[in-house]
């Protein structure tokens, strides 16, 4: 403890300064009309994805648990905030329309109006029980944290106590996401089936405020959340706790024999990252405006892993860079703005071929650059892993080298 926290982790300060500069630049550009509202929203959404990637990096890069279900928590966070947004917004509309009907509206009439307004599309007219807290912002905000946290706690407790590890855990988390998505796809799930929740970009009570300002506010909120999470995670990973979870990644059995409660650590990390992801989702979906069960598809969680892998595992800034670069590139390519490449016999149209490129890039990163983009910074800063003759193995057997592992 001779040096201060900031000095021991120089990347933290650099990251925070970069983020602040970026936020400032975006704000200025938006203020002077150099940047469209939709692009500000895209940037804000990207920051939320970076936040989710940060959580993914903690659970995968540091603790070695490849969770393929974190986007489920992301979407759950979105659903929780979306319920309040939709309820409150519909309440305003219903009260306005009932005001012209001769008598002041009773609470029952308002309730009925909201229910039929929201659930008309799935043929129901009663508010399901899970909407019981939707009228209250604080309660619903609490649920943003509590529900995904509880789900992660229960799932993690079940999985870790029966020592499900490695690929089994990955597949199990994938199954959890799939189960949740299939459940939400049903019309009687109480969350409007595959219609999802929509109109989330309209913030209740802020009718007079333009979307320009709202998008900037959400951008700032996303940036602040990212900065706070980065600070917190840097603090967690740089201390003793960080050493233990890295040790669990490298050799779980040895850590257990040393007397640490491996399951406790894993469970804490799993739940914490689920909550961070849920907060990211709660910030993301008001900017996206719509959420539906397709957001929970297992593929989304796998993309999260892809971002972290391309950015560089085991480095917090790597995850942020990966998420930002890949998701921005992805929206650039799929947005149809990338120029097509004529090859004579066929034309590479990036809307169609971007996924092929992404898949191939991903395979190449896994094969040739396991450190991802973050590895470039290492080279830049002059860090070198000790040369032990052979490629480092994955997180499972990361402490072993290839030659030893073969034996």
């Amino acid at each position: 403890m001779t040096r201060s926290f900031f000095l021991r982790t120089p990347s933290l300060l650099i990251f925070l300064i970069c983020l602040a500069l970026f936020t400032f630049a975006t704000t200025l550009a938006a203020h002077y009309g150099l940047m469209s509202t939709s692009f500000v929203k895209t940037l804000g959404k990207t920051l939320c994805l970076c936040l989710a990637a940060l959580a993914m990096d903690l659970i995968w890069g540091y603790a070695g648990i490849l969770s393929l279900g974190h986007m489920a928590f992301f979407a759950l966070g979105g659903y929780m905030i979306g319920m309040w947004l939709m309820y409150a917004r519909t309440e305003e509309i219903v009260i306005t329309s009932l005001a012209n009907s001769g008598l002041p509206a009773t609470p029952e009439e308002i309730q009925q109006g909201i229910a039929s307004q929201i659930f008309g599309v799935v043929g129901a007219s009663d508010l399901p029980t899970i909407w019981a807290f939707a009228h209250s912002l604080p309660l619903q905000l609490f649920l943003v944290i509590a529900l995904p946290g509880l789900l992660a706690l229960i799932f993690g407790w079940l999985a870790f106590r029966s020592r499900v590890t490695g690929v089994y855990l990955s597949i199990l988390t994938q199954a959890m996401t799939l189960a949740l998505a299939l459940y939400l796809f049903q019309n009687d799930s109480g969350l409007r089936g595959n219609n999802g929740l929509s109109g989330l970009q309209n913030i209740p009570g802020l009718d007079a405020t333009s979307q320009d300002s709202i998008s900037l506010w959400f951008f700032w909120a996303s940036a602040a959340a990212l900065a706070l999470a980065y600070l917190a995670l840097t603090w967690i990973t740089s201390g003793k706790f960080g050493s233990v979870i890295r040790a669990i990644r490298d050799d779980e059995a040895r850590v257990r024999f040393l007397g640490y409660s491996v399951e406790g650590y894993k469970l804490f990390v799993f739940t914490l990252t689920a909550i961070i992801t849920a907060i990211a989702g709660a910030l993301y979906y008001p900017q996206a405006g719509i959420i539906n069960p397709a957001e929970l598809a297992p593929i989304a969680s796998i993309y999260l892993a892809v971002w972290v892998a391309i950015g560089g595992r085991g480095r917090l800034y790597g995850a942020v860079i990966g998420a930002a670069v890949v998701s921005l590139l992805s929206s650039w390519f799929t947005g149809g703005r990338a120029p097509s490449i004529p090859l004579g016999f066929m034309t590479i149209n990036w809307v169609d071929w971007w996924q092929v490129l992404l898949g191939a890039a991903f395979v190449c990163v896994t094969l040739f650059a396991p450190k991802g983009i973050g590895g470039l910074f290492d080279r830049f800063a002059g860090f070198h892993a000790p040369d032990r003759k052979g490629a480092p193995l994955g997180p499972d057997q990361g402490s072993l080298q290839e030659k030893e592992a073969l034996e």
Binding site: A159, R161, S162, R163, V167, I171, L180, T366, G394, P395
Partner: protein, 643 residues
């Protein structure tokens, strides 16, 4: 009065009706026939039907189709066919009888009622028609639309039926009609009991209408055939019960919220209603008070209050009344339906088991390749689903060039194996070889390949579903009875799954390659020092697993839509199958597939309309199952189990 007249006419006509041939009958009743009406014509039609004259059927048919006419000059009946300028005449015996001008002939135009009676009379002729196909068609039409009138002609047509099958059908139909329409309740009960626990849909279709009920509210027990007494609040909601009272005019209508609202708005005076200010009317209680005040002032009609409604409910009884008045028949029908229900439930369980088995064989086919790569080699292949898709697309491409479906499937199976085997070997050589011992990295790298492959397939074949048609001999289903049936395509898939199980067992236990694969699985270093080339074995094993995925793709493509997302639908289930069953063991994959397939069908029983829910609950079950057997149903023991 009209009925009396009709009776009188019928009596008057009774004497001439003894005539023998159709022609004589018609001539004797010419006046009746010419002005045929539903009330009066019955004796004539019956006489024609009973005459035994072989021409009667033709005459009746012609009559119904406006093909019968009377020559005005002599009042004789002819079968008439319109030609240019007039009619071609045929006498009733079937011989040509020249032509006549249009004005010489009165064409008979029976109305709809008479035509209906003629059609009924014709039934008995078609039922005894010499052409067996026509008799069968007549039986079908009666079975489709059972009518009381069909009963008598049907009974008459049973004894002289030469065809044994048709005779049995007629007898069955006769009993079905008897239990519904016979006037004698003993005959109906006997007919019901004669079936026992028959599984036929037609029997259930005949029995169910007998048990149709309607709800009734009454102060005293009615004399009708009561199914059961309903208690408001238990068997039917109090609101429903009260609605019954209202519709039976036993109680005044209740005040709906909407009606109260309208009344309050109508009586709004000076910013207040009934002394309550408008602004305060934002709760239901305040609105009720305002309405009561209006009631007291007499400005709005009295409406039933909650107390009055409760009292009215108490004062009346509510019943489920059988529409069928005969209690003996309903009891017998209920008993018959109950025993049928038990048998149907047993059969449905058998059907469910078959369904589960066929789903299990699909999962097994999809998972067996994965069981090899994941189980034997410890390699997670996320692109397995895309290999399945590639197999299905191979089948589609083969069918583009080979129009014969049987031949094309026979070509497609080995070709799909070859294509996916090559893809698997290439993938192993280029990517997976570098990632052994790093399972999570393998998972990610193969996932990258998976999204790239899926997009390439989408670019090549488009997003719309492509057809992969099964040969005609695989169409249809093997039907054991009205409940249990299984389509041939599912049987084929089951057989294919069995074949693969046998093939795999033979390969692993009886061949040199299998021996080497098992050796490399258990201990690659030791296997290498015994002269086995682990690289080659890994490559072949991976190729084999991928090749089987291709064949599974052809099989799945035969009944599912071939899109680029075909494999994705199966990949998670396949992983579940392998994980639940136990890694590294073909019997484990089999057990896993059986369990997952059976379970999914079982859950679907509880909620048949909702396969999404079934899948959700199944995955939840698997997550819980892993708690108790983390290494699957059949877990490897000893050193081969790894950690």
């Amino acid at each position: 009065m009209r009925i009396l007249l009709a009776c009188l006419l019928a009596l008057l006509c009774a004497a001439p009706l003894r005539a023998e041939t159709a022609a004589e009958i018609l001539t004797a009743n010419a006046a009746l026939v010419e002005k045929a009406s539903r009330q009066t014509i019955a004796p004539v039609i019956d006489a024609l039907g009973a005459s035994g004259d072989p021409t009667a059927a033709a005459v009746l048919e012609a009559w119904a189709n406006k093909g019968l006419g009377i020559r005005k000059s002599d009042g004789l009946f002819f079968l008439i066919t319109a030609n240019e300028g007039g009619y071609a005449l045929t006498d009733l015996a079937g011989a040509p009888a020249g032509e006549a001008a249009k004005s010489d002939i009165t064409e008979l135009k029976p109305n709809a009622g008479v035509r209906g009676m003629i059609a009924t009379a014709l039934v008995q002729f078609t039922l005894s028609d010499p052409d067996a196909a026509k008799r069968a068609a007549a039986l079908d039409s009666i079975a489709k639309d059972p009518k009381p009138e069909a009963l008598a002609p049907l009974r008459a047509a049973i004894t002289n039926e030469p065809d044994a099958t048709l005779k049995a059908q007629k007898q069955r139909l006769e009993r079905l009609l008897t239990l519904r329409f016979d006037p004698e309740s003993t005959a109906r009960i006997a007919a019901i009991n004669s079936f026992g626990a028959d599984l036929g849909l037609d029997l259930r279709g005949a029995l169910n209408p007998l048990l149709a009920t309607k709800k009734l509210a009454a102060a005293e027990p009615p004399t009708a055939n009561i199914a059961q007494e309903l208690k408001p609040g238990r068997d039917l909601s109090e609101a429903e019960a009260y609605d019954l009272l209202v519709s039976a005019n036993l109680a005044p209508a209740r005040l709906t919220i909407e009606a109260a609202r309208t009344a309050l708005i109508a009586n709004l005076a000076g910013g207040a209603v009934g002394g309550i200010p408008l602004a305060d009317l934002n709760t239901q209680a305040a609105r009720d008070r305002a309405y009561t005040a209006l009631e007291a002032a007499g400005t709005v009609p009295q409406a039933a209050t909650d107390d009055e409604a409760a009292a009215a409910l108490k004062a009346h009884h509510f019943y489920d009344i059988y529409i069928e008045p005969d209690p003996g028949v309903t009891t017998a029908a209920a008993a018959a339906l109950k025993s049928i229900g038990h048998k149907v439930a047993a059969m449905q369980a058998a059907d469910l088991a078959l369904d589960g088995l066929s789903l299990a064989s699909i999962y097994f086919l999809a998972a067996i390749g994965l069981a090899i790569t994941f189980g034997v080699m410890g390699v997670i292949n996320m692109a397995h689903g895309e290999f399945i898709t590639m197999g299905a697309y191979t089948g589609y491409v083969v069918q583009l060039y080979v129009p014969n479906y049987t031949a094309s499937i026979l070509i497609a199976l080995p070709l799909a194996f070859a294509v996916t085997f090559a893809a698997g070997v290439a993938m192993e050589r280029l990517v997976i070889r570098h990632l052994y011992k790093r399972p999570l990295e393998t998972l990610l790298a193969t996932f990258g390949i998976s999204i790239a492959l899926q997009q390439i397939l989408k670019n090549v074949f488009g997003t719309q579903a492509r057809p992969l048609t099964s040969p005609a001999w695989l169409d249809g289903a093997l039907t054991l009875n009205d409940v249990v049936s299984i389509s041939y395509i599912r049987i084929a898939i089951f057989v294919l799954a069995l074949l693969f199980l046998t093939f795999f067992l033979w390969l692993m236990k009886r061949t040199r390659l299998g021996l080497e694969v098992r050796a490399v699985t258990q201990n690659p270093t030791m296997a290498a020092s015994m002269g086995i080339n682990p690289d080659r074995i890994n490559m072949l094993t991976f190729g084999l697993g991928s090749g089987i995925a291709g064949i599974a793709g052809v099989a799945i493509g035969l009944f599912a839509k071939v899109t680029s997302e075909l494999g994705t639908d199966y990949i998670v289930q396949s992983f579940m199958t392998v994980v639940v069953g136990g890694v590294g063991n073909i019997w484990g994959a089999l057990a896993g597939a059986t369990m997952i397939g059976g379970l999914q069908k079982l859950i679907e029983v509880f909620n048949p309309s909702n396969t999404l829910a079934a899948q959700t609950y199944m995955i939840l079950f698997i997550i819980l199952f892993i708690q108790f057997r983390p290494r699957g149903i059949i877990a490897l023991k000893g050193r081969a189990a790894g950690d």
